[in-house]
């Protein structure tokens, strides 16, 4: 009797083994991702949404996201990638461009926002129309003046490419190539773009000191700018009417999303980190230098503009010297360890169609 029980047990164990190995093996070896930690910089708040709870960060997912990010073949003319408008050397904004270029010599109508510290954001785009990090790429992928591609074409391209097939298996365990997995891999890359190693950060951590000029600029910044550009992210992620007039695209910003008249001309407060590299500024890239941006807040605002944010109704008065002090403080937010990080940069040279 005893041997029957033992044999049955052995049979059961063997059967389970076969089932377990069959579910995870596609001829590329067993699924063994390298899990990555999500490190919150010292003194920073915890992100409101944990984007990596359901989409666990792995080296394989990150690398797949990076490949997708730098791949121009996702676009309809084969030349425009995410990186075309989000360039590492411009802190992942479009360097020196008010508006970015899409396929077929098209222009966008807004300045490409810098991709940094996205894991701390809950709304994306200047108007906040995108409600989750994962679904953001759907906009630029399909917009006719950006990458101009249908989602079906993107997915079938990925399915027919052996290196993508291999990378999807490495990242997710099997060869199922879906929009969900593509978007999750992209979120692993873009959500990992953390900048927290500028001179400002080193000063805050006691590893460096501001010059007198920068220190005076910092004090003036705290008095005049920090209400919206809140440390340590240098944005409070709110939407505000900052006194910019309605532009030639009749872009009313947040109102387009909420339909509320009170949201007219409200745009997202951008982070000022790496501001030295993200010029030109504002939602339409219409201001080209930091001192000119400060000039806008000193004298460029139409104080009678309906819906003007209440913090801007009181005039900001700064001398030319003070303006320069703030500018020099803002340049301490430049983080070249971030922009030059080989992990975030392409493995091979990228063709920028600009």
């Amino acid at each position: 009797m005893k041997y029957k029980v033992i044999i049955s047990f052995l049979f059961f164990a063997a059967a389970s083994l076969v089932i377990i190995s069959a579910t995870r093996n596609d001829g590329y070896g067993p699924y063994k991702p390298t899990y990555l930690p999500f490190n919150i910089p010292k003194g920073w708040p915890k992100p409101t949404v944990n984007y990596f709870a359901k989409n666990r960060l792995t080296e394989e997912g990150f690398q797949l996201g990076k490949k997708l990010f730098y791949d121009g073949r996702l676009s309809s003319d084969g030349q425009v990638s995410c990186a075309s408008c989000h360039q590492s050397f411009g802190a992942f904004a479009t360097f020196d461009h008010d508006l970015s270029h899409g396929v077929k010599n098209t222009f966008t109508t807004r300045n490409a926002p810098a991709l940094m510290n996205l894991a701390w954001m809950t709304k994306f785009h200047w108007d906040g129309g995108v409600n989750h990090l994962e679904v953001q790429p759907l906009g630029p992928l399909t917009a006719p003046n950006e990458m101009g591609q249908s989602l079906d074409t993107v997915i079938s391209y990925l399915k027919n490419d052996t290196s993508y097939r291999r990378m999807f298996i490495a990242a997710f365990g099997d060869a199922n190539i879906s929009s969900q997995r593509m978007l999750r891999a992209l979120a692993q890359f873009t959500g990992s773009l953390i900048t927290a190693n500028s001179k400002y950060d080193k000063v805050m951590n006691g590893q460096d000191t501001f010059s007198n000029f920068e220190k005076k600029g910092y004090d003036l910044f705290k008095l005049n700018c920090a209400a919206c550009h809140k440390e340590p992210l240098f944005t409070d992620n709110s939407f505000r009417n900052n006194g910019m007039a309605l532009n030639r695209f009749a872009d009313e910003g947040r109102k387009k999303i909420t339909g509320l008249p009170g949201d007219s001309l409200k745009f997202k407060v951008p982070s000022l980190r790496n501001i030295q590299l993200t010029y030109p500024y504002m939602h339409d890239g219409s201001i080209f230098s930091v001192p000119q941006v400060i000039d806008h807040y000193i004298s460029g605002i139409n104080v009678n503009q309906p819906g003007l944010d209440s913090v801007l109704k009181k005039p900001i008065l700064l001398s030319k010297l003070q303006k320069n002090q703030i500018t020099y403080f803002l340049y301490t937010l430049t983080d070249t360890a971030f922009t030059k990080n080989p992990r975030f940069n392409p493995d091979a040279p990228v063709y920028y169609n600009h």
């Binding site: 409600n131 679904v135 906009g139 399909t142 879906s178 929009s179 969900q180 387009k256």
Partner: protein
């Protein structure tokens, strides 16, 4: 040895019970099949012309919508199980789900997608953005999409397009549909119940609110107009037959 034999036997008995409970849960399977009616005639896509309550003529080229959380109601007790299906008049016209055995007098489902699923990142299956029911520039799902042409339309090419959706208050466009069964039905274990449901387009134009093609040939964004259109959804659905 005896003890080992008994424990082995118990183990196998346990395994068998487990298997059985998976194979034969105490539930019946339900199929809801949809048929589309306009002017008391079956809807033919991209062909027949219909007339709404305001005398406006139209043809339909596309009709797709989400059904969420279909369920039977037992004495008002809600056995809600989150699920979502995409119905396409040019494709899949039926959905299947399971319900515990019991006596039922009411069928419920939503036209729409749960708010949380509109804002929790990339989804798969029926909610895959590949299905063309996700707004990329203003995140969220189109719950009900109806497109066609009408001579009353003032839009380009006499188009009419109704992309009804929106998950944020006060303009959430998801609508609960509650259909009383004309008789109480008893579902036993492993029964299969098919229910044919009419979607009557005449009610889309006029029931709680008036939706006139001439005044609104295009509703493509969440907002008060989309909400108004969605308030007509409940009147559109009736049970045709219980099989």
């Amino acid at each position: 040895m005896n003890r080992k034999y008994i424990s082995g036997l118990l183990f196998f008995a346990g395994m068998c019970c487990l298997q059985q409970s998976y194979a034969q849960k105490n539930e019946a399977s339900i199929t809801l099949r949809f048929q589309y009616i306009a002017n008391d005639k079956p809807l033919v896509l991209a062909d027949s012309t219909y007339t709404n309550a305001f005398g406006e003529q139209y043809t339909i080229t596309k009709l797709k919508f989400y059904i969420s959380n279909p369920r039977f109601i037992v004495k008002e007790k809600n056995n809600k199980e989150a699920s979502v299906f995409l119905i396409d008049a040019a494709g899949d016209d039926s959905i299947s789900f399971k319900a515990p055995a019991g006596e039922y007098s009411k069928l419920m489902f939503s036209i729409g997608v749960d708010s949380a699923l509109n804002s929790s990142g990339a989804q798969a299956g029926a909610l895959d953005p590949l299905n063309g029911m996700f707004w990329t520039w203003n995140s969220g799902y189109v719950y009900f999409k109806m497109e066609g042409y009408s001579p009353s339309s003032t839009a380009d090419l006499k188009r009419m397009e109704y992309h009804i959706g929106g998950y944020m208050q006060p303009n959430n466009a998801s609508r609960e549909i509650s259909l009383a069964l004309d008789k109480t039905i008893t579902l036993n274990k492993a029964d299969h119940q098919e229910i044919l449901i009419n979607l009557n387009l005449d009610k889309y134009w006029q029931s709680v609110n008036d939706i006139k093609i001439a005044s609104n040939p295009l509703i493509m964004v969440p907002g008060s107009l989309a909400k108004k259109a969605s308030e007509n959804f409940p009147a559109m659905f009736q049970i045709a037959t219980l099989h």
